[in-house]
């Protein structure tokens, strides 16, 4: 038997996504919130590849490629923003960053 029900992959992806969402909700460190977002993106990517494999279409994998590019761009800009916030506020605790004015 070389087959695994696709439901298993979907369930795994759902669990990973939920852990990511939980991380965004309960952690206060901006960097860890950011890592949780990466985890959620990864869960979505896993589903794309699983369905590409079922339907024998490469388009799903191309989508994953594009998502990875967007994630890389997002990380570059997001980390630059966090560094800029740290310079003015001296903290990256999201509870302390509640004012728009520096």
């Amino acid at each position: 038997m070389n087959m695994i029900p696709v439901t298993y992959y979907i369930a795994l992806s759902a669990v990973l996504f939920t852990i990511g969402a939980l991380g965004v909700l309960i952690r206060r460190n901006a960097l860890i919130i950011f890592m949780s977002i990466e985890l959620m993106l990864n869960a979505a990517n896993l589903l794309f590849v699983a369905f590409a494999s079922i339907y024998n279409l490469l388009d799903g994998q191309i989508f994953v490629f594009f998502i990875m590019t967007v994630a890389a761009a997002e990380v570059a800009v997001g980390l630059a923003l966090i560094v800029a916030i740290f310079r003015t506020k001296k903290t990256i605790d999201v509870d302390q960053v509640n004012m728009l004015k520096g």
């Binding site: 979907i10 890592m35 990466e38 985890l39 590849v49 590409a52 990380v75 630059a80 990256i92």
Partner: protein, 170 residues
């Protein structure tokens, strides 16, 4: 059967490392757990017949992105933050709502009629760099080019956001 055992072991590692990322107090440990998680997902991609995506995952995610994360964590010196709970009910509430989301999701999955089983030994050609490259440069040529502009904009944006003005602060 071996494939099922392989899948379950890898799934266990993936979930454990994700939880480790979530629960570590130290941000450096979180980042290292996340690297392990990305590596595990890369092995899943290999199982699903996507060798090119698997290696991209390792180089881009586990390599470049996580190095950037570790670099920023160590640059800012914010490995651990002091505990500050502004909303005391937030944590139990978040855990409860996440459990609801998970149960809802899994229930809906079980309701669906899913197409088929995932074959774990697809043809060697499927997902090879050659096949992906041919598709990228034919049907997805325009999105591919737009991606390069996106990366350029992200690079310029990151530099503009972090550059220090002459004379002044930040």
């Amino acid at each position: 059967m071996t494939n099922l055992i392989l899948f379950l072991t890898l799934a266990l590692v993936a979930i454990a490392t994700a939880l480790g990322m979530l629960l570590s107090k130290n941000a450096v440990y979180s980042a290292l757990f996340l690297v392990l998680n990305f590596a595990t997902v890369a092995v899943f991609y290999l199982l699903l017949g996507a060798p090119f995506i698997a290696l991209t995952q390792v180089t881009v995610y586990a390599g470049a992105i996580m190095v950037l994360f570790l670099f920023v964590i160590m640059l800012l010196g914010t490995e651990e933050l002091p505990d500050s709970q502004v909303l005391p009910y937030q944590k139990p509430m978040a855990i409860f709502l996440s459990l609801v989301l998970l149960i809802e999701g899994i229930y809906l999955i079980l309701q669906q009629k899913m197409p088929a089983l995932v074959s774990n030994n697809p043809s060697a050609d499927f997902g090879s760099p050659k096949a992906i490259g041919e598709l990228l440069f034919s049907r997805y040529l325009l999105p591919f080019e737009v991606t390069s502009i996106l990366l350029l904009v992200a690079m310029v944006g990151a530099i503009v956001l972090t550059v220090k003005k002459k004379g002044g602060q930040s």
